[in-house]
Symmetry: C2
Subunit: 215 residues, 2 copies
Amino acid sequence: MEQNIIVTVDVVLLTLRDDRLQVAVQRRDKEPYNGQLALPGGYIHDDEDFDAEGSARRMLKDKTGIEAPYLEQLETFANSARDPRGWSVSVAYYALVAPESLAAGQLDLLPVDGLPVLAFDHNKLVAAAVKRVRNKAAYSSLACYLLPERFTLTELQHTYEKILGSRLDKSSFRRKIASLDFLETIKDEVQAGRQRPAQFWKLKQGRLTIFDKLL
Amino acid sequence: MEQNIIVTVDVVLLTLRDDRLQVAVQRRDKEPYNGQLALPGGYIHDDEDFDAEGSARRMLKDKTGIEAPYLEQLETFANSARDPRGWSVSVAYYALVAPESLAAGQLDLLPVDGLPVLAFDHNKLVAAAVKRVRNKAAYSSLACYLLPERFTLTELQHTYEKILGSRLDKSSFRRKIASLDFLETIKDEVQAGRQRPAQFWKLKQGRLTIFDKLL
DNA sequence: CAAACATAGTTGTTTTATACAACTATATTG
DNA sequence: CAATATAGTTGTATAAAACAACTATGTTTG
């Protein structure tokens, strides 16, 4: 059995900035697609990486300096047409991060709606990641990973609203959050401002909580 | 860049028989894991397959003779430990089929709960597929693909119940199905028996319908 | 052939969750 | 200290689901 297949990992790194989902892209400095924008990614190193997820973490760390709090396998894009070098496999991951933890460095952030043409089939990867996030946010604690560790319920509600693209009722949202019981208040920590101070909250457990549709 | 990675596709073919989910397995006739039970699958043929899904369809056709009505990418299992031959990638798919359309042939069906040890990491693939199906069935028309093209609402309700592992209320179930509007009656076709005949139904469109949680 | 039976399918009511609306609370600012 | 801005709560109307009882229509059986 002789295979000639390229195996890569690509990461769709998403954040919520200026009230909309944005994706991290980098300009390529080698062929193919030299000079074009692309997702952070590259070959799996079979001598170095234990598994694909480890490979994704390595890419993210090396190419952007980030260790994202949320990383999940998205989908695998595998065919003979997506890479001019031949049959290729991209195991795609998506990562969520708070905009605060992104140092303006070697990566550009672009809004996911109205993206320019990216290298390879990376527009498809972004579209798949955005669809996944929009869908999964509706019935999980996913949205929290687009915020810093501490956040107010108003911030969280706004985050859900931006992702889902619909307004949520404040009282219903708060009753639901309380009943789902995956957040806890941070005692004595409040957000100051020119109005009544807001309670800070954080995730109770580290891992994602799945629940029935939010609202 | 020199990679030495094996790229395969495996298919978790599921059906509902004897009131429980069962998976199709085959005994391997070559190394590694010669003689052990494994999922239908094999190398991607980069000279023959256009993409991974096409490869999965080919495997399914060649190894089991089946063209499953429902086939979806599940997850990719990729690491250096899962195959004794070295670093390997398995792009896993899952397929759903009605038990009626499975000719007792070159494949065994085993209940997904209490499975023996399979070759490679195939127990993990089955577990992932079962989890996906149990989860996705709750908010989609997925269950229909485990039934023949024509079915009664009682059969469909039983199917949902077996997958979800919980009882559903008959009147609520039927009101919900009616409101979701993804099924249509087959005029003048009813299931006979020793009681009042039941109306036959079928999917309105070919593709999967996603809705909010069923009940 | 009518009564018993078995399952299909419907209707009405109670309970629960969400939508909608109005309210109170607590800080800052001028 | 009143105005104002946002946090957070409470009450009520509405919609959906759970629960319960009913009717419908075939076959089987005495």
